[in-house]
Protein backbone atom coordinates (compact mmCIF):
# COMPACT_ATOMS: atom_id res chain seq x y z
CA UNK A 1 0.00 0.00 0.00
CA UNK A 2 1.65 3.27 -1.07
CA UNK A 3 1.52 6.67 0.65
CA UNK A 4 -1.19 7.99 -1.72
CA UNK A 5 -3.50 5.14 -0.78
CA UNK A 6 -2.80 5.75 2.90
CA UNK A 7 -3.65 9.46 2.52
CA UNK A 8 -6.94 8.57 0.83
CA UNK A 9 -7.79 6.05 3.52
CA UNK A 10 -7.00 8.56 6.31
CA UNK A 11 -9.42 11.11 4.79
CA UNK A 12 -12.12 8.48 4.29
CA UNK A 13 -11.53 7.24 7.83
CA UNK A 14 -11.93 10.77 9.24
CA UNK A 15 -15.15 11.19 7.29
CA UNK A 16 -16.55 7.88 8.59
CA UNK A 17 -15.52 8.85 12.12
CA UNK A 18 -17.37 12.18 11.78
CA UNK A 19 -20.53 10.33 10.72
CA UNK A 20 -20.27 7.96 13.69
CA UNK A 21 -19.69 10.78 16.20
CA UNK A 22 -22.81 12.57 14.95
CA UNK A 23 -24.71 9.28 15.28
CA UNK A 24 -23.59 8.93 18.91
CA UNK A 25 -24.48 12.55 19.70
CA UNK A 26 -27.98 12.14 18.30
CA UNK A 27 -28.70 9.04 20.40
CA UNK A 28 -31.53 9.48 22.91
CA UNK A 29 -32.17 6.74 25.41
CA UNK A 30 -35.86 5.90 25.79
CA UNK A 31 -36.75 7.50 22.45
CA UNK A 32 -40.32 6.77 21.35
CA UNK A 33 -40.96 5.11 18.00
CA UNK A 34 -42.32 8.40 16.67
CA UNK A 35 -39.12 10.17 17.73
CA UNK A 36 -36.92 7.43 16.27
CA UNK A 37 -38.77 7.28 12.93
CA UNK A 38 -39.63 10.99 12.50
CA UNK A 39 -37.39 12.91 14.95
CA UNK A 40 -40.61 14.23 16.54
CA UNK A 41 -41.12 16.37 13.41
CA UNK A 42 -38.91 19.13 14.76
CA UNK A 43 -36.39 19.91 12.01
CA UNK A 44 -35.55 23.47 11.12
CA UNK A 45 -34.52 24.68 7.71
CA UNK A 46 -30.88 23.59 7.29
CA UNK A 47 -31.33 20.11 8.75
CA UNK A 48 -34.58 19.64 6.81
CA UNK A 49 -32.97 20.76 3.55
CA UNK A 50 -29.97 18.45 4.13
CA UNK A 51 -32.23 15.53 5.02
CA UNK A 52 -34.42 15.92 1.91
CA UNK A 53 -31.61 16.81 -0.51
CA UNK A 54 -29.35 14.08 0.90
CA UNK A 55 -32.11 11.49 0.50
CA UNK A 56 -32.65 12.62 -3.08
CA UNK A 57 -29.04 12.94 -4.30
CA UNK A 58 -27.47 9.51 -4.57
CA UNK A 59 -24.36 7.98 -6.11
CA UNK A 60 -26.12 8.50 -9.45
CA UNK A 61 -25.18 12.18 -9.27
CA UNK A 62 -21.49 11.86 -8.49
CA UNK A 63 -20.83 8.65 -10.42
CA UNK A 64 -23.63 8.21 -12.98
CA UNK A 65 -23.92 11.81 -14.21
CA UNK A 66 -20.22 12.28 -15.07
CA UNK A 67 -20.26 8.81 -16.62
CA UNK A 68 -23.29 9.62 -18.78
CA UNK A 69 -21.93 13.07 -19.75
CA UNK A 70 -18.80 11.35 -20.98
CA UNK A 71 -20.95 9.68 -23.66
CA UNK A 72 -23.76 12.19 -24.30
CA UNK A 73 -22.30 15.56 -23.31
CA UNK A 74 -23.49 18.61 -21.41
CA UNK A 75 -27.18 17.80 -21.94
CA UNK A 76 -26.96 15.53 -18.88
CA UNK A 77 -27.32 18.52 -16.55
CA UNK A 78 -30.39 19.73 -18.43
CA UNK A 79 -31.73 16.14 -18.43
CA UNK A 80 -32.22 16.56 -14.68
CA UNK A 81 -31.76 20.26 -14.04
CA UNK A 82 -34.37 21.84 -16.28
CA UNK A 83 -37.17 19.60 -15.01
CA UNK A 84 -36.44 17.86 -11.71
CA UNK A 85 -34.43 20.71 -10.15
CA UNK A 86 -37.44 23.07 -10.10
CA UNK A 87 -40.48 20.84 -10.66
CA UNK A 88 -39.84 18.44 -7.78
CA UNK A 89 -39.52 21.30 -5.24
CA UNK A 90 -42.67 22.84 -6.70
CA UNK A 91 -44.41 19.51 -6.10
CA UNK A 92 -43.03 19.46 -2.56
CA UNK A 93 -45.48 22.32 -2.07
CA UNK A 94 -48.32 20.44 -3.79
CA UNK A 95 -47.80 17.22 -1.86
CA UNK A 96 -45.62 18.10 1.13
CA UNK A 97 -47.59 21.04 2.45
CA UNK A 98 -50.95 19.21 2.69
CA UNK A 99 -49.27 16.00 3.83
CA UNK A 100 -47.59 17.89 6.66
CA UNK A 101 -51.00 19.02 7.93
CA UNK A 102 -52.40 15.48 7.62
CA UNK A 103 -49.30 14.14 9.33
CA UNK A 104 -50.03 16.36 12.32
CA UNK A 105 -53.60 15.16 12.60
CA UNK A 106 -53.36 11.49 11.66
CA UNK A 107 -49.67 10.87 12.44
CA UNK A 108 -49.08 9.93 8.80
CA UNK A 109 -45.51 9.03 7.81
CA UNK A 110 -45.70 6.97 4.61
CA UNK A 111 -47.33 7.20 1.20
CA UNK A 112 -49.21 3.93 1.72
CA UNK A 113 -50.49 5.20 5.07
CA UNK A 114 -51.77 8.36 3.41
CA UNK A 115 -53.65 6.33 0.79
CA UNK A 116 -54.93 3.84 3.39
CA UNK A 117 -56.27 6.54 5.71
CA UNK A 118 -57.68 8.71 2.95
CA UNK A 119 -59.72 5.82 1.57
CA UNK A 120 -60.12 3.82 4.80
CA UNK A 121 -58.65 0.77 3.15
CA UNK A 122 -56.07 -1.54 4.70
CA UNK A 123 -55.91 -3.48 1.43
CA UNK A 124 -54.94 -0.37 -0.51
CA UNK A 125 -52.36 0.45 2.16
CA UNK A 126 -50.80 -3.03 1.99
CA UNK A 127 -50.69 -3.13 -1.79
CA UNK A 128 -49.10 0.32 -1.97
CA UNK A 129 -46.59 -0.64 0.72
CA UNK A 130 -45.62 -3.81 -1.16
CA UNK A 131 -44.91 -1.83 -4.34
CA UNK A 132 -42.81 0.62 -2.34
CA UNK A 133 -40.79 -2.20 -0.78
CA UNK A 134 -40.40 -3.90 -4.16
CA UNK A 135 -38.62 -0.84 -5.52
CA UNK A 136 -36.80 0.18 -2.34
CA UNK A 137 -35.02 -3.03 -1.34
CA UNK A 138 -32.95 -3.49 -4.54
CA UNK A 139 -32.17 0.22 -4.37
CA UNK A 140 -30.55 -0.36 -0.96
CA UNK A 141 -28.16 -2.86 -2.52
CA UNK A 142 -27.06 -0.40 -5.17
CA UNK A 143 -25.86 2.05 -2.52
CA UNK A 144 -23.70 -0.61 -0.90
CA UNK A 145 -22.41 -1.80 -4.29
CA UNK A 146 -21.44 1.82 -5.09
CA UNK A 147 -19.54 2.09 -1.80
CA UNK A 148 -17.59 -1.10 -2.45
CA UNK A 149 -16.65 -0.09 -5.98
CA UNK A 150 -15.62 3.42 -4.92
CA UNK A 151 -13.21 2.19 -2.25
CA UNK A 152 -11.79 -0.43 -4.59
CA UNK A 153 -11.32 2.15 -7.37
CA UNK A 154 -9.79 4.87 -5.22
CA UNK A 155 -7.29 2.51 -3.59
CA UNK A 156 -6.47 0.78 -6.91
CA UNK A 157 -7.67 -2.53 -5.48
CA UNK A 158 -5.58 -2.35 -2.29
CA UNK A 159 -8.84 -2.46 -0.35
CA UNK A 160 -11.07 -5.18 -1.82
CA UNK A 161 -14.65 -4.57 -2.90
CA UNK A 162 -16.25 -6.49 -0.05
CA UNK A 163 -14.37 -4.51 2.62
CA UNK A 164 -15.60 -1.19 1.14
CA UNK A 165 -19.16 -2.50 0.96
CA UNK A 166 -18.91 -3.78 4.54
CA UNK A 167 -17.57 -0.48 5.94
CA UNK A 168 -20.30 1.56 4.21
CA UNK A 169 -22.99 -0.79 5.55
CA UNK A 170 -21.51 -0.80 9.04
CA UNK A 171 -21.17 2.98 9.37
CA UNK A 172 -24.67 3.73 8.01
CA UNK A 173 -26.12 0.99 10.19
CA UNK A 174 -24.28 2.43 13.22
CA UNK A 175 -25.60 5.98 13.02
CA UNK A 176 -29.10 5.02 11.91
CA UNK A 177 -29.34 2.38 14.65
CA UNK A 178 -28.36 4.91 17.31
CA UNK A 179 -29.98 8.10 16.11
CA UNK A 180 -32.80 7.03 13.78
CA UNK A 181 -34.20 9.86 11.68
CA UNK A 182 -32.49 12.53 13.82
CA UNK A 183 -29.07 10.87 13.59
CA UNK A 184 -29.42 10.38 9.84
CA UNK A 185 -30.48 14.00 9.30
CA UNK A 186 -27.56 15.39 11.32
CA UNK A 187 -25.15 13.23 9.37
CA UNK A 188 -26.88 14.32 6.16
CA UNK A 189 -26.08 17.95 7.04
CA UNK A 190 -22.39 17.01 7.06
CA UNK A 191 -22.74 14.89 3.92
CA UNK A 192 -24.65 17.49 1.90
CA UNK A 193 -22.01 20.10 2.72
CA UNK A 194 -19.23 17.70 1.69
CA UNK A 195 -20.70 16.73 -1.66
CA UNK A 196 -21.69 20.27 -2.61
CA UNK A 197 -18.30 21.78 -1.67
CA UNK A 198 -16.45 18.70 -2.98
CA UNK A 199 -18.31 19.02 -6.29
CA UNK A 200 -17.22 22.64 -6.73
CA UNK A 201 -13.57 21.80 -5.95
CA UNK A 202 -13.57 18.84 -8.35
CA UNK A 203 -15.08 20.98 -11.14
CA UNK A 204 -12.44 23.72 -10.92
CA UNK A 205 -9.52 21.29 -10.54
CA UNK A 206 -10.55 19.40 -13.67
CA UNK A 207 -11.29 22.55 -15.71
CA UNK A 208 -7.96 24.12 -14.69
CA UNK A 209 -6.03 20.92 -15.44
CA UNK A 210 -7.52 20.72 -18.94
CA UNK A 211 -6.56 24.30 -19.82
CA UNK A 212 -9.69 26.14 -18.65
CA UNK A 213 -13.39 26.11 -19.60
CA UNK A 214 -12.82 27.69 -23.02
CA UNK A 215 -9.99 25.46 -24.20
CA UNK A 216 -11.67 22.29 -22.93
CA UNK A 217 -15.00 23.12 -24.61
CA UNK A 218 -13.34 24.17 -27.88
CA UNK A 219 -11.48 20.85 -27.91
CA UNK A 220 -14.76 19.01 -27.38
CA UNK A 221 -16.36 21.03 -30.23
CA UNK A 222 -13.52 20.02 -32.58
CA UNK A 223 -12.99 16.40 -31.56
CA UNK A 224 -16.37 15.26 -30.20
CA UNK A 225 -19.06 17.61 -31.60
CA UNK A 226 -21.77 15.09 -30.71
CA UNK A 227 -21.24 16.00 -27.04
CA UNK A 228 -22.30 19.58 -27.79
CA UNK A 229 -25.05 18.95 -30.31
CA UNK A 230 -26.75 16.16 -28.30
CA UNK A 231 -26.74 13.62 -31.11
CA UNK A 232 -26.30 10.81 -28.57
CA UNK A 233 -29.55 11.44 -26.72
CA UNK A 234 -33.04 11.29 -28.25
CA UNK A 235 -35.41 14.16 -27.52
CA UNK A 236 -38.11 11.66 -26.58
CA UNK A 237 -35.93 10.25 -23.82
CA UNK A 238 -35.07 13.78 -22.67
CA UNK A 239 -38.75 14.74 -22.58
CA UNK A 240 -40.16 11.63 -20.90
CA UNK A 241 -37.39 11.22 -18.33
CA UNK A 242 -37.81 14.84 -17.21
CA UNK A 243 -41.45 14.15 -16.36
CA UNK A 244 -40.81 10.77 -14.76
CA UNK A 245 -38.01 11.86 -12.45
CA UNK A 246 -39.75 15.10 -11.43
CA UNK A 247 -42.95 13.31 -10.44
CA UNK A 248 -41.17 10.37 -8.83
CA UNK A 249 -39.04 12.30 -6.34
CA UNK A 250 -41.83 13.77 -4.15
CA UNK A 251 -43.26 10.24 -3.74
CA UNK A 252 -39.98 8.45 -3.08
CA UNK A 253 -40.79 6.90 0.32
CA UNK A 254 -37.48 8.13 1.76
CA UNK A 255 -38.06 11.69 0.50
CA UNK A 256 -41.79 11.87 1.28
CA UNK A 257 -41.41 11.04 4.97
CA UNK A 258 -38.69 13.67 5.32
CA UNK A 259 -40.96 16.33 3.85
CA UNK A 260 -43.10 15.81 6.96
CA UNK A 261 -40.29 16.23 9.51
CA UNK A 262 -40.23 20.04 9.43
CA UNK A 263 -41.20 21.82 12.61
CA UNK A 264 -43.47 24.16 10.64
CA UNK A 265 -44.52 24.39 6.97
CA UNK A 266 -42.31 27.47 6.63
CA UNK A 267 -39.24 25.26 7.18
CA UNK A 268 -40.30 23.24 4.14
CA UNK A 269 -40.92 26.48 2.25
CA UNK A 270 -37.31 27.61 2.83
CA UNK A 271 -36.11 24.18 1.68
CA UNK A 272 -38.17 24.49 -1.50
CA UNK A 273 -36.63 27.90 -2.25
CA UNK A 274 -33.01 26.72 -1.99
CA UNK A 275 -33.56 23.28 -3.60
CA UNK A 276 -33.54 24.33 -7.30
CA UNK A 277 -30.26 26.23 -6.88
CA UNK A 278 -28.45 23.37 -5.15
CA UNK A 279 -29.93 20.87 -7.62
CA UNK A 280 -28.85 22.76 -10.71
CA UNK A 281 -25.40 23.50 -9.29
CA UNK A 282 -24.42 19.92 -8.51
CA UNK A 283 -25.63 18.61 -11.88
CA UNK A 284 -23.86 21.33 -13.89
CA UNK A 285 -20.58 20.67 -12.06
CA UNK A 286 -20.72 16.92 -12.56
CA UNK A 287 -21.94 17.02 -16.18
CA UNK A 288 -19.19 19.34 -17.44
CA UNK A 289 -16.48 17.50 -15.52
CA UNK A 290 -17.59 14.22 -17.11
CA UNK A 291 -17.82 15.70 -20.63
CA UNK A 292 -14.39 17.35 -20.46
CA UNK A 293 -12.96 14.07 -19.13
CA UNK A 294 -13.33 12.62 -22.65
CA UNK A 295 -10.35 14.78 -23.78
CA UNK A 296 -7.55 13.22 -21.71
CA UNK A 297 -9.24 9.81 -21.25
CA UNK A 298 -10.86 8.80 -24.55
CA UNK A 299 -12.21 5.37 -25.38
CA UNK A 300 -14.04 4.32 -22.23
CA UNK A 301 -16.87 1.99 -23.21
CA UNK A 302 -20.29 1.68 -21.55
CA UNK A 303 -20.38 1.86 -17.78
CA UNK A 304 -16.56 2.04 -17.62
CA UNK A 305 -17.09 5.80 -17.93
CA UNK A 306 -18.66 5.80 -14.44
CA UNK A 307 -15.08 5.83 -13.16
CA UNK A 308 -14.19 9.02 -15.05
CA UNK A 309 -14.04 11.31 -12.00
CA UNK A 310 -11.72 9.10 -9.91
CA UNK A 311 -9.56 8.54 -13.02
CA UNK A 312 -9.30 12.29 -13.67
CA UNK A 313 -8.48 13.09 -10.08
CA UNK A 314 -5.91 10.32 -9.90
CA UNK A 315 -4.30 11.88 -12.98
CA UNK A 316 -4.49 15.57 -12.07
CA UNK A 317 -5.15 16.00 -8.35
CA UNK A 318 -3.10 15.22 -5.26
CA UNK A 319 -4.03 12.14 -3.23
CA UNK A 320 -5.77 14.15 -0.51
CA UNK A 321 -8.13 15.56 -3.11
CA UNK A 322 -8.96 12.07 -4.34
CA UNK A 323 -9.75 11.34 -0.70
CA UNK A 324 -12.17 14.28 -0.64
CA UNK A 325 -13.79 12.98 -3.82
CA UNK A 326 -14.18 9.61 -2.15
CA UNK A 327 -15.79 11.30 0.86
CA UNK A 328 -18.10 13.27 -1.46
CA UNK A 329 -19.19 10.09 -3.29
CA UNK A 330 -19.69 8.30 0.02
CA UNK A 331 -21.71 11.26 1.29
CA UNK A 332 -24.04 11.09 -1.69
CA UNK A 333 -24.64 7.36 -1.53
CA UNK A 334 -24.73 7.04 2.27
CA UNK A 335 -27.24 9.87 2.68
CA UNK A 336 -29.60 8.01 0.36
CA UNK A 337 -28.87 4.64 1.95
CA UNK A 338 -29.68 5.86 5.48
CA UNK A 339 -32.94 7.44 4.33
CA UNK A 340 -33.93 4.20 2.59
CA UNK A 341 -33.19 2.10 5.68
CA UNK A 342 -35.39 4.39 7.76
CA UNK A 343 -38.10 4.37 5.09
CA UNK A 344 -38.20 0.57 5.10
CA UNK A 345 -38.59 0.62 8.88
CA UNK A 346 -41.40 3.17 8.55
CA UNK A 347 -43.21 1.07 5.94
CA UNK A 348 -42.95 -2.14 7.99
CA UNK A 349 -44.07 -0.49 11.22
CA UNK A 350 -46.76 1.85 9.91
CA UNK A 351 -48.10 -0.03 6.88
CA UNK A 352 -47.69 -3.67 7.75
CA UNK A 353 -47.57 -4.10 11.55
CA UNK A 354 -49.84 -1.28 12.77
CA UNK A 355 -52.89 -2.10 10.58
CA UNK A 356 -53.07 -5.61 12.10
CA UNK A 357 -52.92 -4.31 15.67
CA UNK A 358 -56.25 -3.94 17.46
CA UNK A 359 -55.76 -0.29 18.43
CA UNK A 360 -53.46 0.48 15.52
CA UNK A 361 -51.16 2.73 17.51
CA UNK A 362 -47.40 2.87 18.07
CA UNK A 363 -45.94 1.17 21.17
CA UNK A 364 -42.74 1.85 23.07
CA UNK A 365 -41.13 -1.39 21.85
CA UNK A 366 -41.62 -0.33 18.23
CA UNK A 367 -38.31 1.49 18.59
CA UNK A 368 -36.66 -1.89 19.20
CA UNK A 369 -38.45 -3.35 16.17
CA UNK A 370 -37.33 -0.36 14.07
CA UNK A 371 -33.72 -0.82 15.14
CA UNK A 372 -33.90 -4.56 14.44
CA UNK A 373 -35.27 -3.77 10.97
CA UNK A 374 -32.34 -1.41 10.33
CA UNK A 375 -29.87 -4.20 11.11
CA UNK A 376 -31.84 -6.80 9.15
CA UNK A 377 -32.13 -4.73 5.98
CA UNK A 378 -28.56 -3.44 6.23
CA UNK A 379 -27.57 -7.11 6.24
CA UNK A 380 -29.85 -7.84 3.29
CA UNK A 381 -28.27 -4.93 1.41
CA UNK A 382 -24.75 -6.15 2.20
CA UNK A 383 -25.46 -9.75 1.17
CA UNK A 384 -27.17 -8.46 -1.98
CA UNK A 385 -24.12 -6.33 -2.73
CA UNK A 386 -21.87 -9.41 -2.40
CA UNK A 387 -24.07 -11.46 -4.71
CA UNK A 388 -24.68 -8.55 -7.13
CA UNK A 389 -27.75 -10.26 -8.62
CA UNK A 390 -28.15 -10.03 -12.37
CA UNK A 391 -30.91 -7.71 -13.47
CA UNK A 392 -30.71 -5.55 -10.39
CA UNK A 393 -29.91 -2.48 -12.49
CA UNK A 394 -33.09 -3.07 -14.53
CA UNK A 395 -35.11 -3.05 -11.33
CA UNK A 396 -33.48 0.24 -10.34
CA UNK A 397 -34.32 1.73 -13.73
CA UNK A 398 -37.91 0.59 -13.26
CA UNK A 399 -38.03 1.95 -9.74
CA UNK A 400 -38.11 5.61 -10.79
CA UNK A 401 -41.05 4.84 -13.06
CA UNK A 402 -42.68 2.69 -10.38
CA UNK A 403 -42.51 5.49 -7.84
CA UNK A 404 -43.71 8.04 -10.41
CA UNK A 405 -46.82 5.89 -10.96
CA UNK A 406 -47.80 6.55 -7.33
CA UNK A 407 -47.90 10.29 -7.97
CA UNK A 408 -51.44 10.46 -9.42
CA UNK A 409 -53.16 8.52 -6.59
CA UNK A 410 -51.30 10.66 -4.03
CA UNK A 411 -52.47 13.90 -5.63
CA UNK A 412 -56.00 12.50 -5.85
CA UNK A 413 -55.84 11.59 -2.16
CA UNK A 414 -54.88 15.14 -1.24
CA UNK A 415 -57.10 17.14 -3.60
CA UNK A 416 -59.92 15.13 -5.16
CA UNK A 417 -62.92 14.56 -2.90
CA UNK A 418 -64.90 12.71 -5.58
CA UNK A 419 -62.21 10.08 -6.15
CA UNK A 420 -62.90 6.72 -4.49
CA UNK A 421 -60.64 3.87 -3.45
CA UNK A 422 -61.47 1.69 -6.46
CA UNK A 423 -60.18 4.45 -8.74
CA UNK A 424 -56.99 4.79 -6.70
CA UNK A 425 -56.43 1.04 -6.58
CA UNK A 426 -57.16 0.65 -10.29
CA UNK A 427 -54.72 3.43 -11.15
CA UNK A 428 -51.97 1.84 -9.05
CA UNK A 429 -52.51 -1.65 -10.47
CA UNK A 430 -52.75 -0.55 -14.11
CA UNK A 431 -49.77 1.81 -13.98
CA UNK A 432 -47.58 -0.62 -12.02
CA UNK A 433 -48.47 -3.43 -14.39
CA UNK A 434 -47.53 -1.28 -17.38
CA UNK A 435 -44.38 -0.05 -15.64
CA UNK A 436 -43.14 -3.62 -15.22
CA UNK A 437 -44.60 -5.19 -18.35
CA UNK A 438 -43.70 -2.58 -20.99
CA UNK A 439 -39.91 -2.93 -20.52
CA UNK A 440 -40.37 -6.71 -20.87
CA UNK A 441 -41.61 -6.15 -24.41
CA UNK A 442 -45.34 -7.02 -24.23
CA UNK A 443 -45.86 -4.10 -26.58
CA UNK A 444 -43.55 -3.58 -29.60
CA UNK A 445 -40.98 -0.87 -28.91
CA UNK A 446 -42.15 1.09 -31.94
CA UNK A 447 -45.48 1.67 -30.17
CA UNK A 448 -43.72 3.56 -27.37
CA UNK A 449 -42.77 6.31 -29.89
CA UNK A 450 -39.33 6.60 -28.35
CA UNK A 451 -40.65 7.54 -24.91
CA UNK A 452 -39.54 5.67 -21.80
CA UNK A 453 -42.04 2.91 -20.81
CA UNK A 454 -42.78 4.56 -17.44
CA UNK A 455 -44.18 7.58 -19.28
CA UNK A 456 -46.92 5.45 -20.84
CA UNK A 457 -47.44 3.66 -17.51
CA UNK A 458 -48.16 7.04 -15.91
CA UNK A 459 -50.48 8.03 -18.73
CA UNK A 460 -52.32 4.70 -18.34
CA UNK A 461 -52.56 5.21 -14.58
CA UNK A 462 -53.90 8.74 -15.02
CA UNK A 463 -56.69 7.74 -17.42
CA UNK A 464 -57.63 4.76 -15.25
CA UNK A 465 -57.87 7.04 -12.22
CA UNK A 466 -60.09 9.58 -13.97
CA UNK A 467 -62.29 6.97 -15.63
CA UNK A 468 -62.85 4.91 -12.50
CA UNK A 469 -63.38 7.99 -10.35
CA UNK A 470 -66.47 8.82 -12.39
CA UNK A 471 -67.67 5.24 -12.93
CA UNK A 472 -67.36 3.93 -9.37
CA UNK A 473 -68.80 5.16 -6.06
CA UNK A 474 -66.82 7.89 -4.34
CA UNK A 475 -65.75 7.96 -0.74
CA UNK A 476 -68.33 8.34 2.04
CA UNK A 477 -69.31 12.04 1.90
CA UNK A 478 -69.17 12.67 5.64
CA UNK A 479 -65.76 11.10 5.94
CA UNK A 480 -64.42 13.04 2.95
CA UNK A 481 -65.79 16.26 4.41
CA UNK A 482 -64.02 15.61 7.73
CA UNK A 483 -60.83 14.53 6.01
CA UNK A 484 -60.60 17.66 3.88
CA UNK A 485 -61.69 19.92 6.73
CA UNK A 486 -58.13 19.85 8.11
CA UNK A 487 -57.03 21.95 5.12
CA UNK A 488 -59.49 24.68 6.00
CA UNK A 489 -57.87 27.82 7.42
CA UNK A 490 -60.13 27.40 10.45
CA UNK A 491 -58.76 23.93 11.24
CA UNK A 492 -56.64 23.59 14.39
CA UNK A 493 -54.18 21.55 12.33
CA UNK A 494 -53.74 24.15 9.65
CA UNK A 495 -50.97 26.55 10.63
CA UNK A 496 -52.70 29.53 9.01
Amino acid sequence: MNSDTIQILVILGLYMLGCMILGIRSYRSGATASDYLMASREFKFFILFSAVFGANISAVTLIGVPGTSYHVGWITWAYFGTAWAWLSPLLFYTIGNRSWILGKKFDIITIAELLGKRWQSKGLQWISALFMLFYLIPYLMVGVIGGGRTVEGLTHGAIPYWVGAFVVTLVVCFYVFLGGMRGAAWVNALQTSIFLIGGIVIFFVIAYSLGGFEFATQTIADKYPELLNRANMSWQRFFSYGIIVSLAVPVFPNVYSRLLTGKKPSELKKTVIIYPIAGLLIFILMAYAGMWGRIPIPGLKGSASDAILPILLAKYAPAWMAGILGAAIFSALMSTLDSQLIAIGQIFIKDIILPIRKKGILKQNDTIISRALVILFALVAFIGALIQPKGIINIIEWSFGGFACMFMPVVAALYWKRCGKIAALGSILVSQFLSIALPLGIVPKSMLFGMLPAFWAMVGGFFTLVLLAFLTPGQDREFSKDFFAVFSPKSAYNPV
Binding site: A78, L90, Y93, L228, N229, W235, S266, P495
Partner: protein, 72 residues
Protein backbone atom coordinates in the same frame (compact mmCIF):
# COMPACT_ATOMS: atom_id res chain seq x y z
CA UNK B 1 -58.35 35.63 -8.56
CA UNK B 2 -58.78 32.77 -6.09
CA UNK B 3 -55.69 30.94 -4.83
CA UNK B 4 -57.01 27.73 -6.38
CA UNK B 5 -56.96 29.24 -9.88
CA UNK B 6 -53.54 30.78 -9.35
CA UNK B 7 -52.23 27.30 -8.48
CA UNK B 8 -53.77 25.84 -11.61
CA UNK B 9 -52.11 28.57 -13.69
CA UNK B 10 -48.75 27.72 -12.13
CA UNK B 11 -49.20 24.03 -13.03
CA UNK B 12 -50.18 24.99 -16.58
CA UNK B 13 -47.04 27.11 -16.91
CA UNK B 14 -45.02 24.20 -15.54
CA UNK B 15 -46.52 21.89 -18.17
CA UNK B 16 -45.66 24.39 -20.91
CA UNK B 17 -42.07 24.60 -19.64
CA UNK B 18 -41.78 20.80 -19.70
CA UNK B 19 -42.83 20.82 -23.34
CA UNK B 20 -40.74 23.73 -24.60
CA UNK B 21 -37.60 22.53 -22.79
CA UNK B 22 -37.30 20.10 -25.69
CA UNK B 23 -35.63 22.50 -28.12
CA UNK B 24 -36.13 20.33 -31.19
CA UNK B 25 -35.04 23.13 -33.54
CA UNK B 26 -31.42 22.88 -32.27
CA UNK B 27 -31.37 19.17 -31.48
CA UNK B 28 -28.55 17.36 -33.32
CA UNK B 29 -27.42 20.51 -35.19
CA UNK B 30 -23.78 21.68 -35.20
CA UNK B 31 -23.31 23.96 -32.21
CA UNK B 32 -20.35 26.14 -31.27
CA UNK B 33 -19.77 28.10 -28.05
CA UNK B 34 -20.73 31.76 -28.34
CA UNK B 35 -20.31 33.08 -24.80
CA UNK B 36 -17.01 33.09 -22.85
CA UNK B 37 -15.77 30.51 -25.32
CA UNK B 38 -17.60 27.62 -23.67
CA UNK B 39 -21.31 28.39 -23.48
CA UNK B 40 -23.64 27.60 -26.40
CA UNK B 41 -27.09 28.93 -27.27
CA UNK B 42 -28.92 25.68 -26.30
CA UNK B 43 -27.13 25.80 -22.93
CA UNK B 44 -28.41 29.36 -22.38
CA UNK B 45 -31.89 28.27 -23.48
CA UNK B 46 -31.91 25.37 -21.02
CA UNK B 47 -30.70 27.69 -18.28
CA UNK B 48 -33.59 30.07 -19.07
CA UNK B 49 -36.02 27.16 -18.76
CA UNK B 50 -34.60 26.43 -15.30
CA UNK B 51 -34.83 30.14 -14.45
CA UNK B 52 -38.51 30.27 -15.47
CA UNK B 53 -39.18 27.12 -13.40
CA UNK B 54 -37.37 28.66 -10.47
CA UNK B 55 -39.57 31.74 -10.92
CA UNK B 56 -42.65 29.53 -10.52
CA UNK B 57 -41.17 28.05 -7.34
CA UNK B 58 -40.54 31.54 -5.95
CA UNK B 59 -44.07 32.63 -6.90
CA UNK B 60 -45.53 29.62 -5.08
CA UNK B 61 -43.39 30.24 -2.01
CA UNK B 62 -43.89 33.98 -1.70
CA UNK B 63 -47.44 34.42 -3.01
CA UNK B 64 -49.39 31.20 -2.55
CA UNK B 65 -47.85 29.35 0.39
CA UNK B 66 -49.75 30.17 3.57
CA UNK B 67 -47.80 31.74 6.39
CA UNK B 68 -47.30 30.05 9.76
CA UNK B 69 -49.32 31.44 12.64
CA UNK B 70 -46.33 33.24 14.13
CA UNK B 71 -45.37 34.64 10.71
CA UNK B 72 -48.82 35.94 9.84
Amino acid sequence: MKKHWKEILVYLFAAVLLIIRVDLWWWGKKIYPILFGWITIPMIYQFLIWLAGFGLVLYICFSLWDKDIDEA
